[in-house]
């Protein structure tokens, strides 16, 4: 679960990582007062989860109240899935650094990555100046050691005056990572101010969904999702991603769903969505169908090959969903695995010809969706 910048900065502040003075507002009301409190110049930052806010015009430096009002209005009108606006003091920047912590699956340790050139995307950094990215690995059971952090800072060539502050901030960032069981924490840029202080210019925190039961304070609302269908699916625990094609996928198993996704693309079709109702969701065919119907699809392609996710149970759910929801699109189904004979009988009873072969099913769906696209 990705947090918004304003939430990340709240966590930072609690754990004593320096952050700019700022106010978070949900709507345009109170804007003038908030900006006045922060003072000018200040920065307006749309609180959305996607990256590239600068380029999208969702971050604006403003130097008076009129400018602030105009820009805030423009941001609120432009941004989708915005949880609010962060109004933040403008920091005098000397230099920008990068630092993040993620999991390293090979060693089973946390990996802290830092670069003396921050501000840009880590992908760009990795491409342009990989030799300037420095890493340390932290054994969770031992915790982060000050000497590791000092070593990292010295490798980055940080000014001696900043070593003390930097050591504390990086240790605190690790505390954020551990305390909230994050999969990613990032400060980019970590700003060196003109007066020689370090301060978190931005903040990313992504909490591990599997650990949310231990952190009930984090609860994803609609603002966290790109659209209602994704939110609704997430509430049900059903993996669902929306695209702009015609063929709706309702498959079981992540690997198989990805494979069908590839096959549709290979054979010239266009995918309307990724939906998985296997694993623990194999009894949720009706709910899955309901979500599919929120999207404008031309054809529904169902492909499964289940073990515990029994074919007969899934087929039963699908037949029931068809009866109750009366979906407006045709259905192509290749349902295999445990109980497949019974599954096929059930499909036939609902007027669906059961297929055995995945490629055949994909091709049929593409044909029914209007044939190969350019």
């Amino acid at each position: 679960m990705k947090l918004f910048e304003y939430q990340a900065k709240e966590l930072f502040e609690q754990i004593e990582i320096p952050v700019p003075n700022r106010t978070f507002i949900k709507g345009l009301e109170g804007m003038a007062e908030a900006a006045g409190q922060i003072g000018f110049p200040c920065v307006l930052k749309a609180q959305v989860l996607q990256g590239g806010r600068g380029k999208a015009g969702l971050i604006k430096l403003v130097s008076n109240i009129e400018e602030a009002s105009n820009q805030a209005e423009s941001i609120f009108s432009k941004a989708k899935n915005m949880s609010g606006l962060l109004i933040e003091e403008a920091i005098q920047i000397e230099k920008e650094l990068y630092v993040s912590i993620t999991a390293d699956p090979v060693t089973g340790k946390a990996m802290m990555m830092a670069c003396s050139e921050g501000g840009m995307d880590i992908e760009e950094i990795a491409k342009d100046i990989p030799e300037r990215i420095h890493k340390i690995y932290i054994d969770l059971s031992k915790g982060i050691q000050p000497y590791q952090v000092r070593g990292l800072l010295y490798e980055m060539g940080i000014d001696e005056k900043l070593i003390g502050q930097g050591t504390k901030i990086l240790q605190d960032l690790y505390n954020v990572f551990r305390t909230y069981e994050a999969e990613l924490v990032e400060i980019n840029p970590l700003i060196v101010t003109k007066d020689g202080k370090l301060i978190a210019g931005d903040g990313k925190v992504s909490i591990d969904d599997n650990a949310l039961f231990r952190h009930p304070q984090f609860k994803a609302t609609e603002a966290y999702y790109e659209n209602d269908a994704e939110y609704e699916a997430a509430e049900e625990g059903i993996p669902y991603i929306q695209f702009d094609g015609e063929i709706g996928l309702m498959c079981a198993g992540a690997g198989l769903t990805n494979t069908v996704f590839d096959l549709v693309n290979d054979y010239g079709g266009k995918v309307a969505n990724y939906l998985e109702f296997g694993g623990p969701n194999y009894r949720k065919a009706k709910k899955a169908m309901d979500i599919m119907m929120k999207n404008d699809i031309k054809i529904l392609l169902i492909v499964t090959f289940g073990t515990i996710a029994r074919a007969d149970v899934m087929a039963e759910g699908i037949v029931e969903a068809i009866k109750e929801l009366n979906p407006p699109f045709p259905i192509v189904a290749a349902i295999r695995g445990t109980g497949e004979e019974k599954a096929h009988e059930l499909l036939r009873s609902a007027g669906i010809e059961p297929l055995i072969d995945t490629e055949e099913a994909v091709k049929k769906a593409i044909a029914l969706s209007g044939g190969v696209k350019q």
Partner: protein, 296 residues
């Protein structure tokens, strides 16, 4: 004709008295698995699926020699259950559950490395040595998938494994061992760590790798081939070739981040190392046919 597990491997089941645990333990025994004991705190003295139950792993292994443990526990207890197994000296563990917290998984991976143990999972159906034994849940009654043979299979997926293995069987082959390393971002054993076992197994002629987007495990396999750690033929199929960046496509481990983890990169690395890479599941069978002369 197998790795890690065979019909002699003495298997302990942690969480044996649970609904899933007892159901699949019966199936495992039916298939030929040598399940010797189970663990559920508070149930010592009872029997489940015909095997004696103990309060703790330590008490079980003190009474009955054990080679491997299978964990039927909810994800939030997986870490503790693994530590308990490792502490009792068990060197092979299979963890099935989906949803292990990431920070737990990191500590589990570290503990497994430190203990020199092979821990398979989580988020997997487990492992099966065809015709001999299984630890996990496999519909072994599906003959068009679960057929003994001489192809080693290792996979990050569940349903896709059935899909691909069915193609292996359709092409006239069968499997020696199938190792589900699981779909988590921190699998406790990595593809490249399974390869030496298949390399050493005289009953495995070739390996099929079923991978997907995310992580670097497929690249590590390419490296193992380049370094001649693995020299048998390897056929790979990877799902998610056309997946968009930055989206979690199903498995928590299946995400392209910071420009890393694309299937294109993985396919290129594998091809450069000399592996055969299938574009579609069907091709896995035809590629095997093209390189192997004797079937099964």
């Amino acid at each position: 004709m197998s790795i890690i597990l065979d019909q002699f491997t003495r298997v302990l089941v942690q969480g044996i008295t649970g609904k899933e645990g007892s159901f699949w333990t019966k199936h495992m025994i039916d298939y030929g698995t040598n399940v010797v004991a189970g663990v559920t705190p508070g149930r010592e003295g009872q029997y489940a699926a015909g095997v004696p139950v103990f309060h703790t792993v330590e008490r079980a292994v003190r009474n009955i020699p054990v080679d491997a443990s299978l964990l039927f526990v909810p994800p939030r207890f997986a870490k503790e259950a693994l530590f308990e197994a490792l502490d009792a000296g068990i060197k092979k563990v299979v963890i099935l559950c989906d949803g292990i917290p990431l920070h737990d998984a990191l500590q589990m991976r570290k503990a497994a490395i430190d203990a020199g143990a092979m821990v398979i999972g989580g988020n997997t159906s487990g492992i099966i040595s065809m015709g001999q034994a299984m630890m996990g849940f496999f519909p072994y009654w599906l003959e068009r998938v679960y057929r003994p043979g001489r192809i080693g299979i290792m996979t990050r997926s569940g349903s896709l494994t059935n899909e691909v293995t069915a193609e292996v069987v359709r092409a006239g082959f069968g499997a020696s061992s199938l190792i589900g390393i699981g779909g988590d971002p921190v699998p406790l054993t990595r593809f490249a760590e399974v390869l030496p076992l298949f390399q050493a197994d005289p009953n495995t002629d070739a390996v099929v790798l079923i991978g997907e987007l995310g992580g670097t495990m497929e690249e590590e396999v390419a490296e193992a081939i380049e370094k001649k750690i693995f020299t048998k033929p390897l056929v790979a199929f990877l799902g998610g070739r056309t997946a968009p960046k930055g989206k979690k496509m199903g498995h928590a481990g299946a995400i392209i981040t910071a420009g890393k983890g694309t299937v294109q990169d993985k396919m290129l690395a594998l091809r450069n190392a000399g592996a055969l890479v299938a574009e579609r599941p069907r091709q896995v069978g035809t590629l095997l046919e093209s390189i192997l002369t004797s079937k099964i």
